[in-house]
Amino acid sequence: MPRRKHLIITLALLFILSTILAACGSSEQQADQGSTLVFGRGGDSDSLDPAQVTDGESIKVTQNLYETLVKYKKENTEVEPGLATEWEPSEDGLTWTFKLREGVKFHDGTDFNAEAVVFNFNRWMDKNNEYHKGGEFPYYGYMFGGYKGDEGHVIKSVKAMDDYTVEFTLEKPQGPFLNNLGMPAFGIASPTAVKKDPEKFGENPVGTGPFAFVEWKKEDSITLKKNTEYWDEGKPSLDRVIFRSIPDNAGRLTALKSGDIDLMDGLNPDATQSIEDDDKLSLYTRPPMNVGYLAFNTEKKPFDNVKVRQALNHAVNKEGLIKSFYNGLAEPAKNPMPPSLWGYNDEITDYEYDLDQAKKLLKEAGYEDGFKMELWAMPVPRPYMPDGKKIAEYLSADFEKLGIEVEIISMEWQTYLEKTGKGEHEAALLGWTGDNGDPDNFLYVLLDQTNAKGPDAGNIAFYKSEELHKLLSKAQGLSDKEERAKLYKEAQKVIKKDAPWVPMVHSTPPLASQSYVKGFIPHPTGSESLENVSIEK
């Protein structure tokens, strides 16, 4: 026994000694760190290599680390100079020449130049490139029709003409090309840093953005510091930005109210009132770039009948939906694309909420006594659809007044996507958040007939209209924006008439901050650079 006693005494002494030592230790390192912004969000990032990720939480951070050739304006998705100062498409839209910004440096001190741009694009597009590593590069495939060697791949080559000129040669003209280049996924990374360890580049990110990477504590926080060499003089104002993961929405709000964080997203719509009532806090709403919709499978009875689809369009009370499920933070949708996008057709009149009209149309279609239908509801909350199952119940209440017997079906989210992608549903709720601010990214992806085939249909209405296809393909091959806008407006008319969907809402997600946070402008794409944000206490 004495041995054990000795041990206990020694341990106790050690503890006391170390406590004393600790007390004497300095806390100088906690001294002034300049202005720090703590951004509270729902989850951690997957990777900090922007080309590897598709999740919003990753992009939120990479937007501050990297820059793209062109970028979007602060409040909308119009394109303005980024790492490229000017650009010129050739007459036929097949060659694009970009002049690059001079004197820009990556965070590791190396120069940004045309070679760096070429390096990045080759890394993404060429599966045989020795640096095509660290994971998939999904967004490259989505936006540019696959990878090198694939049929439909858009970019033929990327060449450095001189130190600060890059030329893109395309296989075929692509309308949204310029907008695509502005997507955060195509942030230019330091070739030196990628070459060092391409597998682990996502953990050691190096870009040219307003902030540079400091450290990543998994599931906890990511810390960035000011890029003192940033080319845009006077920016950024903040010395440090910390992205903090707090998964629970209520917990995050508590953290905001108790001052642990300065800015948060993922605010519950029903918490907005408490933010407005608190003069220490500010409320923001993100302009909508999404759509929540009900898609009819036009290949299945009775939804192959346009009158049935129109009838159900008359049976959806959008204002009521917004009041009940979005706490007013949404606007009714009449088109499949949000009004913040260019090419939106505001002249379209929506099907009014009118059950009598709906009954009349059903009678004309020969379904006077109604029918049985399955209504699929998504199991997870999405920005455009906070509660799929409840919304399905809400819709079915009205449908049942028309004599329609509704069975609500829900399943696990990945399975839901797989099965709707194969067209196993009769009618399904779904939504879409825009990627690049181009109407093509909504209309073509979600409603063109080329995307109406399994196993991964973007067009889950399986709606096939030759008329629409002509308009959309034509618009895709043009680079003149006004011409394209005209075609998209026509396209929206066709869609309204054929009613493959009930476009339901464009939601505006709310955010909140301490009132001393200034200059924060939520961007419709769902993430923004914090270069203009400052703290004014």
């Binding site: 170390s18 406590t19 030592l21 600790a22 007390a23 004497c24 230790g25 806390s27 390192q29 906690q30 760190q33 703590v38 989850g43 951690d44 997957d46 990777s47 598709t54 999740d55 660290g134 994971g135 998939e136 999904p138 967004y139 495939g141 989505y142 597998e199 996502g202 953990e203 504590k217 998994k218 599931e219 906890d220 926080s221 910390i242 903090r244 993961s245 707090i246 998964p247 629970d248 209520a250 917990g251 508590t254 953290a255 109210k257 108790s258 001052g259 642990d260 964080i261 399943m411 696990e412 989210w413 990945q414 399975t415 996507l417 797989e418 992608g421 990627d435 399994g454 196993p455 991964d456």
Partner: protein
């Protein structure tokens, strides 16, 4: 004792083998495709097929399991599909975070639980007994998430005494060594971090400690009552031994074994069951690590995470069993 220990260690092999088979089967029965989860909702079928091939998901399940076990024998827990990192390496900081939280919670639960139990046994059927057991009942019935939110609301938001989430203030600069922050702060002599880390520990530890505290209190009470009825306690009383001495020395020592069992089981449960607490208080622990992996269908992480938790659970139980013998010399494992 030694041969018993060895026998128990050998018994671990089939147990862990069973656990690995079970988690493997359950994890692969979860609907949803990891390839789709990695690529996001906008992936095409072609891309998904390619990634499935790369991850070896097209091989027969049996082959996948054999590969998995083969790697386990080499001490390789596999790689995360999502981050492409070594799971053993990746998991370590999460384990440290959970260990710190669970240890503090267990210390709280043991201290308060035992004293509550002792108190009510000592004053059986008094108002003290009733209120102590009422506290224990509330402790068992109160859902952890509810208690956690309540704590956050009262102590963080309204009173502003304690931070509501995380392990350290986000603005604090600190390089951990072992990953157990309170210890690391002492090792580096950083008083500021030491205090900050403790403040962050209080609320989640209390939330996590409530249920085990209640269990320990009830077990201590009944076990103490039983011992107090025995002859030698009556003798001690008759001899005029002080009440405090009777309770804490004579009774507790003999009443402790069943309590120790409960403590051991609770420690195991704390390790795995901290998921809710870790989510509410955004504590980056092993529970959340596995939970996030379920969301992304990161099979390797889920099965290896659960395997590690299960292993710890079994090992803790073994330690508890061995402790019995140390506390009560009448228990001798060697001779049967």
């Amino acid at each position: 004792m030694l041969s018993y220990t060895i026998r128990r260690l050998l018994q671990l092999i089939p147990v862990l083998f069973g656990i690995s088979l079970l988690t493997f089967s359950i994890v692969h029965a979860i609907p949803g495709d990891p390839a789709r989860a990695i690529l996001g909702t906008k992936a095409t079928a072609g891309q998904i097929a390619e990634v499935r091939e790369e991850l070896g998901l097209n091989e027969p399940l049996v082959m996948q399991y054999v590969d998995y076990v083969k790697n386990l024998f080499q001490g390789d827990l596999g790689k995360s599909y999502l981050t492409n990192r070594d799971i053993g390496e990746e998991m370590f900081p999460y384990l440290a975070a959970t260990a710190e939280l669970a240890f503090v919670a267990l210390a709280l639960a043991t201290f308060f639980g035992m004293n509550l139990g002792i108190l009510s046994a000592w004053r059986q059927n008094s108002w003290l007994d009733y209120s102590a057991m009422l506290i224990a009942l509330i402790g068992i019935s109160m859902p952890v998430f509810w208690l956690g939110l309540l704590e956050q609301w009262v102590f963080a938001q309204e009173l502003g005494w304690l931070p509501s989430n995380g392990r350290l203030d986000a603005r604090t600069l600190f390089d951990p060594i072992t990953g157990i922050y309170t210890l690391d702060a002492l090792l580096t002599g950083n008083w500021y971090v030491f205090e900050d880390a403790w403040k962050h520990l209080v609320l989640p530890a209390v939330a996590l400690a409530t249920i085990p505290m209640a269990m320990i209190a009830r077990m201590t009470r009944s076990s103490m009552l039983e011992v107090m009825r025995s002859d030698y306690i009556r003798t001690a009383r008759a001899k005029g031994v002080s009440e405090f001495w009777i309770v804490y020395k004579h009774t507790l020592k003999n009443a402790f074994i069943p309590v120790l069992t409960i403590i051991g089981v609770q420690m195991g449960l704390l390790l795995g069951g901290a998921i809710l607490t870790e989510t509410i208080f955004s504590w980056p622990g092993i529970g959340r690590y596995v939970y996030e992996a379920i969301g992304t269908r990161d099979y390797q992480v889920i099965q290896s995470g659960i395997l590690v938790i299960a292993t710890l659970f079994v090992i803790i139980n073994l330690i508890v069993d061995l402790l019995y013998a140390t506390i009560d010399p009448r228990i001798q494992y060697g001779k049967e």
